[in-house]
């Protein structure tokens, strides 16, 4: 049915080097590597379905080509690049401070953590460190940003699966966080909150009260979301056993963040390689066993609670002192290279900066967590039903700005 | 009231015959199925005019709402391009036509043979609705015709099981 319509040619691909191209793995590589027009080998019942760049559930301009066997996904290919803006190339022609606003635009959902990673990387390159007060304020803002990012993820993921209400509740809470950001640095989304060497702005009057009030309200709100979803039979049915990624595959693919922790690997950069002020606070790393969508959901919910915990501890005790380290106005780091990574809400966000001694970096390479996590999509989607593909894309939590840069 | 009955009967009868003719003459098989549906609905209407409301409703629920849905499903899932290009009238149309004419002649003779004033009128509807049709059918079905009823049920069950077994894909 329909097998003639979708352009598959029912002839075998000429085997090269005398090797048979019959294994499933190889067929996937065929789709991924070359044009589907002349080299696709499809079985009698298989069709290629295109989830085009414009689709309500791909969370950005992502194109997914699915090879379907009836209802099941036999293989997939993600085609990215629709949002590529050449950020890394631009970096080579901006000074270090000039480049800082650009990093917000990569993971635009969690701009503050992008900024944190970049500023800390440059500070490492310069061999300085931000003063303690700046580090604590950075931690608070980054954890608030983590909560905001997870809230957006939760709302949109639930919406894809059909729950129409949590998205509004999540955005209501996210609004509170964005108001705090706006009061602090004037912007809600692309905040450019941090500067190389520390902070530009002192915390405003009432920053601690606002944060405390938000954190106190928030526990009750997370319970609300959990009531709606966690024990809900339909939610569990849609997410349990869907998109399983085991620990070995996760590590082999380089997956990081909540996806990795849900697969059973206890790895969080905030504990493994502490940065900012994380070593001063007590918090847990939620981990789960089976690596399905439900586990990733539970891990992120728990992470929101832990972030709240960190915020409450940090806000009790913000040290006084300067907010900016003593570095010159013109930044000329000594020639060298540095790789610094942080635990962004989506995974390990790394910056590899090569300096040639001038005011502009020689190369800035960003390790975007979403890009690397997206590579696990094929493993997760193979064998699942079409209706689950949407859930799987949502559960990896990708932001195309980061994937494409 | 009698004229209303008469008018309704003529309406349903014309609808049934016209739908039947349209059904066999359509090239598009989905149109044919839709006209079969209207034919069955018209027949159900005639049942209703005969005060057999249970039969009317069963015709609608089972035949139109069940069996025809099955027909339509199958038609839509089959590759239609091939069937549209098939020849609609095959070489046996002469024999078939002759037989149909013979049958029509028999019917006409039967109608002519019982002619007498009012013989073909619909019976006047009962003045009071003495045991309602549904209950009458139920009484008969569960007392006198119990055995055939149960046998028919088992037959249907066997058919259902057979259908499920055949439809299950033979996966490893």
């Amino acid at each position: 049915m329909g097998s003639r319509k979708f352009g598959n040619r029912q002839r075998a691909v000429e085997p090269q080097d005398g090797h048979e191209r019959m294994s499933n793995e190889h067929t996937i590589k065929t789709i991924a590597g070359m044009d589907s027009v002349n080299t696709t080998v499809l079985g009698a019942d298989e069709i290629i379905l295109n989830m085009g760049p414009q689709h309500p559930s791909t969370h950005g301009v992502l194109r997914v080509k699915l090879k379907l066997d009836g209802e099941r996904v036999a293989g997939s290919e993600c085609i990215i690049g629709y949002l590529h803006r050449g950020v890394e190339k631009i970096a080579e022609h901006r000074s270090y401070q000039q480049f800082a606003p650009y990093v917000d635009r990569m993971d635009y959902v969690a701009a503050v953590s992008n900024g944190l990673g970049y500023c800390e990387a440059v500070e490492k390159l310069l061999g300085t460190e931000a003063p303690p007060r700046a580090r604590v304020v950075r931690t608070i803002l980054t954890e608030l940003q983590r909560i905001a990012s997870h809230l957006l993820w939760l709302g949109t993921h639930a919406l894809d699966i059909g729950a129409l209400t949590p998205v509004f509740y999540c955005f209501r809470e996210r609004e509170e966080i964005l108001k705090i950001f706006e009061k602090y640095c004037g912007a809600r989304l692309t905040t450019h909150a941090f500067r190389i060497g520390g902070l530009q702005y002192e915390t405003y009057d009432g920053f601690e009260e606002d944060t405390k009030r938000f954190c106190n309200d928030f526990a009750h709100k997370i319970d609300e979301y959990e009531t709606l979803l966690t024990e809900n039979r339909i939610w569990v049915g849609r997410t349990k056993g869907v998109g399983i990624l085991n620990a070995a595959d996760a590590i082999a693919l380089g997956v990081t963040g909540p996806v990795l922790r849900a697969s059973g690997v206890r790895w969080d950069l905030r504990k493994a390689q502490p940065y900012a002020a994380y070593d001063q606070y007590e918090f847990d790393i939620p981990t789960r066993e089976s690596g399905d969508t439900y586990d990733r959901y539970v891990v992120r919910m728990e992470e929101m609670r832990q972030s709240r915990r960190i915020c409450l501890q940090a806000v009790e005790n913000i040290p006084t002192g300067p907010i900016m380290a003593r570095i010159g106005k013109v930044l000329k780091p000594p020639p060298g290279e540095v790789y610094h990574s942080i635990e962004a809400p989506k995974g390990e966000l790394g910056y590899y900066i090569v300096s040639d001694g001038t005011t502009q970096p020689y190369r800035v390479r960003v390790r975007p967590p979403s890009f690397i996590n997206l590579q696990a999509f094929d493993k997760m989607a193979k064998g699942s039903l079409i209706a689950d593909v949407v859930a799987i894309i949502g559960t990896i939590d990708i932001v195309l700005g980061e994937v494409d840069r | 009231m009698q004229t209303l009955n008469q008018a309704l009967f003529i309406f349903f009868a014309v609808m049934a015959v016209a739908s039947a003719v349209l059904m066999v003459t359509r090239r598009n098989i989905v149109h044919g199925a839709v006209f079969l549906i209207t034919t069955l609905l018209a027949t159900a209407g005639i049942f209703l005019l005969l005060a057999a409301e249970f039969l009317f409703i069963v015709q609608v629920i089972l035949y139109v709402g069940g069996i025809m849905v099955l027909f339509v499903f199958v038609i839509m899932l089959v590759n239609l391009d091939v069937s549209m290009r098939q020849v609609q009238f095959n070489r046996q149309w002469f024999v078939a036509g002759t037989l149909a004419l013979l049958l029509a002649a028999q019917f006409l003779y039967a109608i002519w043979a019982v002619r007498s004033p009012g013989a073909l009128r619909l019976p006047a509807p009962a003045a009071e609705m003495a045991p309602k049709n549904t209950e009458a059918v139920a009484d008969a079905l569960f007392s006198h015709y119990m055995l055939p009823f149960e046998i028919a049920s088992i037959l249907l069950l066997v058919a259902m099981i057979g259908a499920v077994v055949m439809a299950k894909r033979r996966t490893a």
Binding site: A163, R172, L228, I234, W235 | H31, I61, V69
Partner: protein, 440 residues
């Protein structure tokens, strides 16, 4: 008045009048149910909903209707034109036809068929053709698949809902809508309370039958397979939409008649009178409610920002006052009139409560995946419904042989069905690895 109308036409006057009222009012009602849905959705999502078109969005349905009527009529190129035109008609016709047997209050019924309930079920099941033919006529692979899925879902859950209804029919003893309500009045208890599992099964079945969440996979926008309505726009689409909401009101009407006592006043045995008058509190309640709404609208009128909104709000207040007047006037009218008017009020109130439950469920739960949906229907609801029917049979034996009371005799049924339900639910752990035996 009898000598103005010839006796041969007399039996048809009232039904035709009722039919005209239904056909005229139903599109408006469907539009306002859509507005109700948007306002309730907004309320549950911590926002306001339509507020601009008319005060508090009250003229929104009219604006939407006008827009849909004026839209360009687009037919896909290779679509089957006859079917494309015919399919929405089938849906709407069947949806409207079902109203002919529905009894809205003891006096308002177009035709008191003695197979009334079966008739409504039969006609509702014919609505499937609207979906299937619509999906077919769109000449799109995915529309067709979505339509066939929707039809398969409808058929499965119709079976379950029908079995749920049968359990109540055994107690009512008749298929006529009026007789069923009468039976509830005679037995002194609404069947929704005495056979709660029947009610539950019918509730779930009716949600799936009308393609509402959590069973709306065939029409959801974020899924890959587009629904059967995709290629329809403008007036044709609004016909489908009207059919969907008319169906919702029909199933709510059936549920009200069979499970919620139809037009019987809640608290039929509560006879406390307003001191000093012969009027019972619960009888005065409808008029008081209407009056309350009228006063509330009056109080909101000055606060509207735009003049036209003020005017519309005052008109709404006036309308509610009129209703209050009618409801109060019915209290002093002859009992048949009072029964008719108050009966209609209580019936519609229960229908709206049932629809509110639909909306509430829609905005709370995520969507079922199609195979999980079919699994739920076939492996949980239908066995449960069968057990329920058998249980009610046992209850009837208890009543007839051992003279147990109407409520008490059903307690073993409920307990037994509950036990089976828990067994089935435990067994039905949802897994994604469940095999999908599809023949598509």
């Amino acid at each position: 008045m009898g000598h103005l109308i010839p006796p041969s036409i007399m039996p048809f006057v009232l039904p035709v009048l009722y039919a005209v009222v239904i056909v005229a009012v139903l599109p408006l009602l469907a539009g306002y149910i859509v507005l109700m849905e948007r306002k309730v959705m907004a309320d549950m999502q911590a926002r306001l909903g339509p507020m601009r078109v008319g005060p508090h969005g009250l003229l929104q349905p009219i604006a939407d209707a006008v827009k849909l009527l004026l839209k360009e009529d687009i037919i896909p190129d290779k679509a089957d034109r006859l079917m494309f035109w015919f399919a929405p008609l089938v849906s709407v016709t069947m949806a409207l036809l079902a109203y002919s047997a529905l009894a809205i209050g003891p006096a308002f019924q177009i035709a008191d068929l003695n197979i009334g309930l079966l008739f409504i079920l039969a006609v509702s099941s014919l609505g499937i053709y609207g979906i299937v033919l619509g999906g077919w006529a769109s000449n799109s692979h995915y529309s067709l698949l979505g339509a066939l899925r929707s039809a398969a879902q409808l058929v499965s859950y119709e079976t379950a809902a029908g079995l749920g209804l049968i359990s109540v029919l055994l107690l009512a003893g008749s298929l006529s809508m009026k007789d069923i309500v009468q039976a509830q009045s005679d037995q002194g208890v609404w069947f929704g309370f005495s056979v709660p599992f029947g009610f539950f099964i019918y509730l779930v079945g009716s949600i799936a039958e009308t393609n509402r969440a959590p069973f709306d996979l065939p029409e959801a926008e974020s899924e890959l397979v587009a629904g059967y309505m995709t290629e329809y726009s403008g007036f044709r689409w609004s016909l489908y939409f009207l059919a969907e909401y008319a169906n919702m009101v029909i199933v709510a009407g059936i549920a009200t008649t069979l499970f919620l006592g139809g037009w019987l006043r809640p608290g039929a045995r509560y006879h406390e009178h307003i001191p000093g008058t012969g009027i019972e509190w619960l009888d005065a309640l409808p008029a008081l409610l209407a009056l309350g709404v009228a006063l509330y609208s009056l109080s909101l009128a000055p606060k509207q920002p735009v003049k036209i909104q003020k005017v519309v709000m005052l008109l709404v207040a006036l309308l509610c006052l009129g209703m209050a007047g009618v409801l109060a006037g019915a209290l002093i009218a002859p009992p048949a009139v009072m029964q008719g008017i108050h009966g209609a009020f209580w019936f519609m109130a229960k229908v709206f409560a049932y629809i509110y439950a639909f909306l509430w469920i829609r905005f709370t739960f995520p969507r079922y995946r199609f195979d999980q949906l079919m699994r739920l229907g076939w492996r949980f609801l239908i066995p449960l419904a069968l057990v329920n029917v058998i249980g009610v049979g046992v209850a009837i034996v208890l009543r007839q042989q051992f003279a147990w009371g109407p409520i008490v005799s059903l307690i073993p049924t409920t307990l037994g069905t509950l036990a089976v339900a828990m067994l089935l639910a435990k067994d039905d752990a949802p897994t994604a690895a469940a095999s999908l035996a599809d023949g598509e």
